[in-house]
Symmetry: C2
Subunit: 534 residues, 2 copies
């Protein structure tokens, strides 16, 4: 059986500390196929010199990356994209075996990784032969025309620690790494242990291809031990996962004491709002139904951006129920390696238990329209009783006014809940806002006034919004897809973070500095054309 190792301080080592639940890993050190429960790999535990790992990344990796221009780093990131794409089929097979992914799910993850790398490669190449970014125009500071200030941004002189979630071992690792490496910061990346096989193979590919400078990318198999105690004010920590772990990391004594910059992507009760103008035969309506269905079943609902709350005008609920229930009934649940299976298992036994418990909690205030309590009678192509399967479950709240759990408890599986509303934008905004901050919500309508009221009403509570309309059908990816051009993150419950968004994502890894001085000197230092800059 394959043993997953850490790659630290420029070499392969036998694993990190045993992974505890606190850092997103299952306690078990054996990775299984969640459809069959057969072991596929193991993580070796063992002591790690975290101080040395951090120092190596900071000095060897950081110095090498900062010696490159943005354009050169962009080329590296682009080369990573090509590397992942060249091994797409192998990685897809691993995602199916270890992630419970259907082939479509696996492509979504792997292509998300290579696509984000490619996009950031282009961002870097466009920035040109420069090692710093100029931020805005020079500003005159007093009455004297000589005394001006110019903001610039330079790479932080530390290491970026990335702690990723189990649901996107490829995309999660590479979307964070793409931005950090492009910014000029070395990365220590840690996948969730339970689904680490894809990430581990990607790391092997990167090491074998010798694409990156020594120390630029390190990899933790298992737990991170006291890694965080070695961080300081030039380092950053970016986490995607549960709200509880995010809070624990953010409040860590060492992290707080040294002002380690922290980014958290956590829970989110993403909503989809159907406008009352969309007739059942409209393209906008079909887009809405397709997006809800995709988000319920893609990756077995294990997307932080998946639609959890479905707001439907009260007099349209019956039609929506019919359409969703009919289409959910056509989806086969089972071994995701089979072509005819539409949805695989969730990633771990623990996730299965959590999702089932979450469904039970939601059912205290909602009726199950499809899927009952989430149990699966017979999973297609799997020995009876094996696999971490959950049926898609569609619920409807009994009383929209008193319902609380649907706004507070993210069930991280193939579960969505219909919430009837008046059809008025004001009411829909108030209901969605009860989620207390999310990553993304979507609105489906061809009524521009309604879309505008919803967009401005929902914007304070979200990092991203998707406005679905009839003419967009066939042209758009749904709200569940995170795109490198747009920021990803959200306020409040979603963790208060922000990633990606093209150039915007670089800011986390750069220090913005205002430089005040004599105008001709500042012009000579900072206003060179990109080709001439230091």
């Amino acid at each position: 059986m394959k043993t997953i190792r850490s790659y630290l301080a420029g070499g392969w080592v036998e694993g990190g500390h045993k992974s505890g639940a606190a850092l997103g890993g299952a306690a078990a050190q054996t990775l299984v196929n969640p459809a069959t429960e057969e072991p596929v790999a193991e993580v070796a535990g063992g002591p790690v010199d975290w101080g040395r790992a951090v120092a190596h990344a900071r000095t060897r990796g950081g110095e090498a990356l900062r010696a490159l221009t943005f354009a050169e780093r962009g080329q590296l990131v682009k080369a990573l994209s090509k590397l992942i794409h060249a091994h797409r089929d192998e990685l897809i097979a691993l995602a199916i075996a270890n992630g419970g992914n259907t082939r479509g799910d696996a492509k979504f993850d792997i292509d998300g990784a290579s696509g984000t790398l490619a996009a950031y490669g282009e961002v870097g190449i466009a920035l040109g032969k420069t090692k710093f970014l100029v931020d805005g125009e020079a500003a005159q500071l007093t009455r004297s025309v000589r005394f001006v200030g110019q903001h610039i941004a330079v790479p932080r002189q530390g290491v970026a620690v990335h702690i990723n979630a189990f649901n996107f071992p490829a995309w999660g690792m590479m979307e964070k790494a793409a931005v950090a490496l492009l910014a000029g910061m070395p990365v220590i990346t840690k996948p969730a242990t339970s689904t680490a096989l894809v990430a581990a193979r990607m790391m092997e590919l990167v090491v074998e291809a010798k694409l990156l400078p020594d120390g630029a990318l390190s990899f933790v198999a298992g737990g991170v031990g006291d890694l965080l105690a070695h961080l300081d004010g030039q380092d950053v920590l970016s986490f995607t996962g549960s709200s509880d772990t995010g809070q624990m990391l953010r409040a860590q004594k060492d992290v707080v004491a040294r002002s380690v910059r922290v980014n958290v992507e956590a829970d989110s009760l993403n909503a989809a709002v159907l406008g009352r103008d969309l007739a059942r035969d409209s393209e906008g309506y079909s887009l809405f139904v397709a997006d809800v269905l995709r988000d319920m079943t893609q990756k077995a609902g294990q997307k932080c951006t998946a639609i959890r709350r479905v707001l439907v005008p009260a007099d349209m609920v019956e039609g929506v129920r019919e359409d969703l229930v009919e289409r959910l009934g056509a989806i086969k649940v089972g071994d995701p390696a089979r072509e005819d299976v539409g949805m695989g298992p969730v990633a771990t036994k623990k996730q299965q238990e959590d999702v089932r418990a979450g469904i039970a909690r939601l059912r205290e205030e909602a009726d199950s329209l499809f899927g009952g309590d989430g149990s699966v009678g017979e999973a297609v192509g799997v020995p009876t009783g094996k696999g971490f399967f959950v049926s898609p479950v569609l619920l409807q709240v009994r009383d929209g006014k008193s319902a609380r759990r649907v706004h507070e408890h993210e069930v991280f599986g193939p579960v969505a809940t219909i919430i009837p509303y008046s059809g008025e934008a004001r009411d829909a905004v108030a209901i969605v806002a009860r989620g207390e901050g999310g990553l993304v919500s979507s609105v489906y309508s061809d009524d521009r006034a309604f879309l505008g009221d919803m967009a401005f009403g929902l914007a304070p509570y979200h990092g991203r919004l998707f406005l679905g309309s009839s003419k967009l059908a066939g042209h758009a990816v749904g709200p569940g897809t995170v795109l490198p051009q747009l920021v990803h993150g959200g306020p409040g419950r979603a963790g208060g973070g922000e990633e990606l968004g093209s150039l915007r994502g670089l800011a986390f890894y750069l220090q913005r500095t205002a430089i005040a001085g004599d105008k001709p000197i500042l012009e000579a230092l900072f206003n060179k054309k990109p080709e001439d800059a230091a």
Copy 2:
């Protein structure tokens, strides 16, 4: 004696909770003149309904502010500036009486407040008749030209809690309030209790002038009790003060659990670096000496941006010592109300004790060149033994290599330490970096290559840099002056925060949201000219 009251939920109330040291206030509830120790005001303690105060600000204040355009809010902020300026003399007198300020110190604080308000008033007016900001260009998201994304920024729907330091009761309160109010967020502001007289009078002026909508600005006299427990993911918390308190606030359970956005400005060992090219008779050299002297004595050294470490090429140290010692000897310490006094006391007995203890710590590795242990024989115009006076103290480290305290311990008073260095930029950068992140450092040279090496070398460790050169003499304010056009804050020890910087400062109070959808719909919603926007 005047009683300082809180202004909460639209009315004056008798004080907050008794202020503890944890939130920057002295335990004493009586405010004194730090030169004479005579009482000047008292803060009444008493129970406060913090939930009601927060709700009032959020709903009444927030709704009223968000109903205004940026231009209208800019007019409000501009009117605040005029109001402060119209009461300048009265406020200066209060700053002298309660802050230990000389008239020059007091002007620096009061004019800093009105100046920052005026600058942000103009920023708002320039943004025009809009209620949201467009962030960047629309981006095509897939191969379809229809599907685009546009980032916008809208006011957060919460309250901004500002906890300010004792050293700048006017500027500190208004620089934060200017940005928050312009962004459309209501403010609950808390001055440090010991020097709250100026802030309290400003609040009275604002209430009497009825300039702001009900709930837009609230004021806490005394401690904040459990105010923070009432915050959520739409609220923000901005703190200026000690590193310990900043860490305590950042790690607060409620703050972390709800992803309250936090900004911290904390300790900083700001450095001034003299280049070896500057002859003793050059204007650049004179600028350096003047800036060091100003930062040592202005506000009795109680500026978060004051120069604490003075890096001088080893063969130039003797000259620098002579010049600084001679000029320090000419500064009279005493009652700041007197015209002939150049430096007043520090703000409190506790500060005096801390500064004296800090000098003693620094002297374990440094020699005192001026001012000995900081004791003042006879303060001018003050009854013997009264007042919280500290002499200016100039130190020099005995061994630059082993010196540690000078890089770690911020002595918040009229104290600076000379550190000899080789004259090489690389060495100066390494020494300054030992401060582990600061608000501002300055470099004095006419050698552009040296200035460039220093600027790029120091940038990762600072929020702001000042490049002093001979031609800038007479045109620039020194590094100790925070300007609204430039960001203020710094990584690591400085707290990892960022404020001001013209438009940049608004981001803290706004939610950035990516909106994806059909191109013509997004253009209609977001690409209106400012005059036409909602």
